[in-house]
């Protein structure tokens, strides 16, 4: 019975000009978005890789220098993009693309693309993810809002129920038919998209992510399908069903994410750049543990002199200045860890507000999950910054040690060369794999699962109380 209901719904959908036009426009937009994503990925990944190569080469060929001068010269870390970066641009328009790694300082990422965009970019970027998050639910709503209410208005619902068709069969048959109609448009595009992903450079590494993303959007569409069917069954007219669903869509998909961002700022406000810099500067003076650099240097000088059994720094076989730089670095790293740790913590707590509010908005849930899996989430950006910082610390540490060990009273004019520069190795941002991404997605998955269960239960309950006649 379910199969024949599904077949009827499927055919009816295909014959409905409204639905077909909407679906065709949707399909065109999705294809255009995916094609442009593939192009942008090819361009941008190449550009970033080329820039990273240039910077690495500049580092390697900087000539002979005092290692500390090299540390001041530093390198740039560029954020490599993932094959899914332009399917879902996530927060990446608002995050910098490169970080300067230099001695004594942990810098923030620079070059946010949003600074170079017009104000209309704020309406939303035309990406595959945006199309699926915003337009797919509306397509589903248009397809399904009249499922029960419309049949009731035409009087066919009464006939069908009089024939002894179980309301549950009717529900799942209609769901299946509508899903088949939407699937007719979406499934080939999704398959093509996944094939394109597999063929893109690095694509296979993200194929698992792509599969999960595709599955998430299917679940997202199913949630809206059952919600619409529930409302259609319960509403007194198809008109009401349409208004209720469009209103729900607008509030949950458009208004709530904005409200979430303001709520996040109100609850966990981040410091201004100036306040942050001042706090860092203040702690750099005194040290996190209240032990000033001078005190630490004196302590270490005594210990080093004792160790080498000499009475003056000049008589040491090593360069004490290198040790001082190392201490300074240790101290400033502790300060950076404290302040960047607090800042990142605040931002992640703000993300927690978004996660909490996704309980009211399936779009927010799917959005957070989609950008996490695409490597364009806040977390991915913080990962990039963390990897760049770890690389910086290793680089500076290598320079300071070389200075300590090689330039001494006997060899004051020590200059390091390419062998030392080569010891540091090139910077490569490695994106956390699928498992790491999935482990962060507990809240979003839970919310989506609950929405799915709730929408099915709501639909089942609504059809159980299905009224055949207009009240």
């Amino acid at each position: 019975m379910i199969a024949s209901i599904a077949r009827k719904e499927f055919i009816a959908a295909l014959r409905d000009g409204r639905v077909m036009w909407s679906a065709a426009i949707f399909a065109v937009m999705l294809i255009a978005a995916l094609a442009s994503a593939a192009q942008r990925y090819a361009d941008i990944s190449q550009e970033r890789a080329a820039a990273q190569a240039i910077v690495n080469e500049q580092w390697q060929n900087q000539g002979e220098k005092n290692p500390h001068a090299a540390a001041h010269y530093g390198v740039y870390a560029f954020k490599a993009v993932t094959p899914l970066s332009f399917f879902d641009t996530g927060v990446s328009s608002f995050t910098g693309v490169s970080i300067w790694l230099e001695a004594h300082k942990q810098n923030m990422a620079e070059g946010e693309p949003a600074r170079d965009a017009t104000a209309i970019a704020r309406f939303g970027e035309l990406t595959g993810a945006f199309t699926l998050q915003m337009l797919l639910p509306l397509l589903v709503i248009l397809l399904a809002f009249a499922s029960f209410a419309g049949e009731r208005e035409q009087g066919t619902l009464r006939q069908v129920l009089a024939m002894g068709v179980s309301p549950l069969d009717l529900l799942f048959g209609k769901a299946l038919g509508a899903a088949a109609a939407v699937g007719l448009f979406i499934a080939p595009i999704m398959v093509l998209g996944l094939i394109g992903l597999a063929m893109a450079p690095d694509g296979l590494a993200f194929f698992g992510n792509g599969m999960v993303v595709a599955a998430l959007y299917i679940i997202y569409a199913v949630i809206f399908l059952f919600l619409t069917l529930a409302v259609s069954a319960a509403a007194d007219s198809s008109r009401t069903a349409l208004v209720v669903m469009v209103a729900f869509w607008a509030v949950s998909s458009v208004a709530l994410p904005k409200a979430a961002s303001d709520a996040a700022r109100l609850v966990h406000d981040t410091p201004t750049a100036i306040a942050f810099q001042r706090a860092v500067a203040a702690d750099l003076e005194t040290g996190v543990d209240g032990k000033s650099l001078d005190a630490q240097v004196n302590e270490r000088r005594e210990a080093t002199l004792r160790l080498y059994k000499v009475d003056a720094v000049e008589k040491l076989p090593i360069n004490f200045q290198g040790i001082v730089l190392g201490l300074q670095e240790q101290m400033s790293n502790a300060v950076f860890d404290k302040h960047f740790g607090q800042l990142n913590g605040l931002m992640l707590r703000q993300q927690g507000i978004f996660e909490a509010m996704s309980a009211l908005s399936p779009r927010l849930a799917v959005q957070l999950a989609s950008m996490e899996l695409s490597g364009t989430s806040l977390g991915a950006h913080l990962d990039f910054a963390a990897q760049a910082e770890a690389y910086r610390r290793n680089l500076i540490d290598t320079m300071n040690k070389a200075m300590t060990m090689n330039s001494s009273g006997a060899n004051p004019e020590y200059r390091a060369g390419p062998e030392l520069w080569g010891q540091v190795g090139p910077f490569n941002f490695t994106h956390p794999g699928l498992t790491a991404s999935l482990s962060k997605l507990g809240p979003s998955f839970m919310v989506m699962f609950l929405w799915l269960v709730a929408s099915v239960i709501a639909a089942v309950m609504a059809v159980r109380k299905l009224k055949a006649l207009i009240a």
């Binding site: 970033r48 608002f94 949003a114 209309i120 248009l142 008109r239 994410p257 406000d269």
Partner: protein, 474 residues
């Protein structure tokens, strides 16, 4: 007849609970949005005040050190009497943009574009890139401001109260009865629409006044009052467009449900789809130069400059012969810094100009294509009135660049001439004074959209009226 229907509709609407709920929602959302915008800008103002205060403290401390030395000049002069040390290392000047009175109504680009820069004697690219700390997640989602309520929510509410204006009467069989009583169709539909539009407009007018009060806008300032009046004009024209569209869709003689579907799709098209498409078009036609390439090119230039520091110094003085006075006491280190800066600036300036040129062309595309969607037109106009559009920040950056010329000139001339920073010299350091662009900048950005929405609305109304001539009542 119009009057009778109009009054009757008002009576019906006042008794309708859904209608009150929709108006209540509009009021509640606007109040929330206004308070939210107010809180955001109050915070920015607090930041700005702090900047100027700290700036003064630092500068006074430097001056005090020099003063102490001037009273008792024993030993070497303090390092802060070196103009290079002050202008290139210690001191910066915060150039701060003051926000317009209406800024809290539309956050616009103010969460993306900086409203202050720390100007130093180094080239502009060294400080123009700095940005405020923001959670990118918040920027991505955007802010819940009054402009959002107007652009996104208001049309939905208008559609909700108009999509079945005529179709419902027909479906209920009332239309035939009314027609039989000799009520002209056009009078009926126009009166029904006018009743709804009248109430909504009255509410919007009240809301504009209320939000102005909530954000503390000083209406005794004629410019603010004029901008607020234009703000209401834009909202009214935008609402007029959506009412006109609904009027036309109702004239198509489709069932209510079809009207609803079509209007929802049109909303989606104008408010969501077209802006994202126009954004792609503008970005594809005139993409910004690559910031990634800029980074690597700057680095190469810096290195080259360092290597050729000596020659650069010569050429720097060659370029600025007026500065190399006879017997000038050159502070070698800072001269070298200036030379390196100049070499990097030579590379960066054309690229920065390219950024600006492309940005201007992109804005040009948007200025033109805003006439494809009233939502884009309304956004551009509201941002312009609030002073939070890109053109406003560009104007600010231009002022900062001009100021940077003065500030840098003040220090470089001292560095090259080998002068010291005296206590009096600290008082003579140029200070930035922001001049808000005149009413004209906002006005030019508003006139087009305002006229466009009004004319399109009018055309839709006329078209609808024509169609109602052939509207079957049964």
């Amino acid at each position: 007849m119009f009057g009778i229907v109009f009054r009757q509709e008002l009576k019906v609407l006042f008794a309708n609970r859904t209608w009150w709920a929709i108006l209540g929602l509009l009021v509640a959302l606007t109040v929330l949005a206004a308070l939210n915008g107010q809180a955001r800008f109050a915070q920015m103002q607090a930041t700005a005040a702090q900047l100027n205060q700290d700036e003064a403290t630092t500068q006074n401390a430097l001056k005090a050190t020099v003063e102490r030395y001037e009273k008792n000049p024993t030993g070497d002069p303090p390092s802060v009497s070196s103009p290079g040390n002050v202008g290139l290392s210690i001191l910066g000047h915060y150039a701060v943009m003051a926000h317009d009175a209406l800024a809290p109504l539309s956050v616009g680009q103010s969460d993306v574009q900086p409203f202050y820069y720390r100007v130093t004697a180094h080239p502009p690219h060294t400080f123009l890139n700095a940005s405020e700390i923001q959670n990118p997640l918040n920027q991505m989602s955007g802010s819940f401001d009054v402009a959002f309520v107007v652009i996104f929510v208001l049309p939905i509410l208008i559609i909700a109260v108009t999509f079945d204006l005529m179709s419902r009467e027909k479906e209920a069989g009332v239309l035939a009865l009314l027609a039989a009583q000799g009520v002209p169709l056009r009078t009926l539909i126009l009166a029904k629409t006018a009743a709804r539009a009248g109430i909504i407009l009255a509410v919007l007018l009240a809301l504009v006044a209320l939000s102005a009060a909530l954000i503390g806008a000083d209406l005794s300032a004629p410019e603010t009052a004029a901008k607020l009046a234009l703000w209401f004009g834009v909202i009214a024209a935008y609402a007029f467009f959506w009412f006109a569209l609904a009027l036309l869709i109702n004239a198509m003689n489709w069932p209510s449900v079809t009207n609803g579907v079509v209007l929802a799709n049109l909303w989606l098209f104008f408010v969501v789809v077209l802006p994202s498409v126009v954004n792609v078009v503008a970005g594809t036609l005139y993409p910004a130069p690559s910031r990634v390439e800029l980074t690597t090119e700057m680095r190469e230039a810096t290195e080259l400059a360092d290597k050729e520091a000596a020659e650069s110094r010569e050429s720097y003085l060659f370029d600025h012969p007026e500065l190399a006075g006879a017997g000038a006491n050159l502070d070698n280190f800072y001269i070298q810094v200036l030379a390196t800066d100049a070499a990097v600036e030579k590379v960066v300036t054309p690229i920065m100009a390219e950024f600006d040129a492309q940005a201007a062309k992109r804005e040009g595309v948007v200025d033109l294509l805003q006439y494809t969607s009233p939502a884009i037109a309304a956004q551009q106009a509201l941002n312009a009135l609030a002073g939070t559009g890109n053109e406003r920040f560009k104007n600010f950056t231009d002022q900062v660049l001009a100021f940077h010329g003065d500030w840098r000139g003040y220090f470089t001339s001292k560095i090259i001439k080998g002068e010291r920073m005296t206590a009096a010299a600290f008082d003579a350091i140029p200070a930035f004074a922001y001049t808000a662009p005149g009413f004209g900048l906002a006005q030019t950005a508003v006139d087009g959209p305002l006229l466009f929405m009004f004319v399109v609305g009018l055309i839709l109304v006329l078209w609808a009226i024509r169609r109602y001539a052939r509207y079957p009542v049964v």
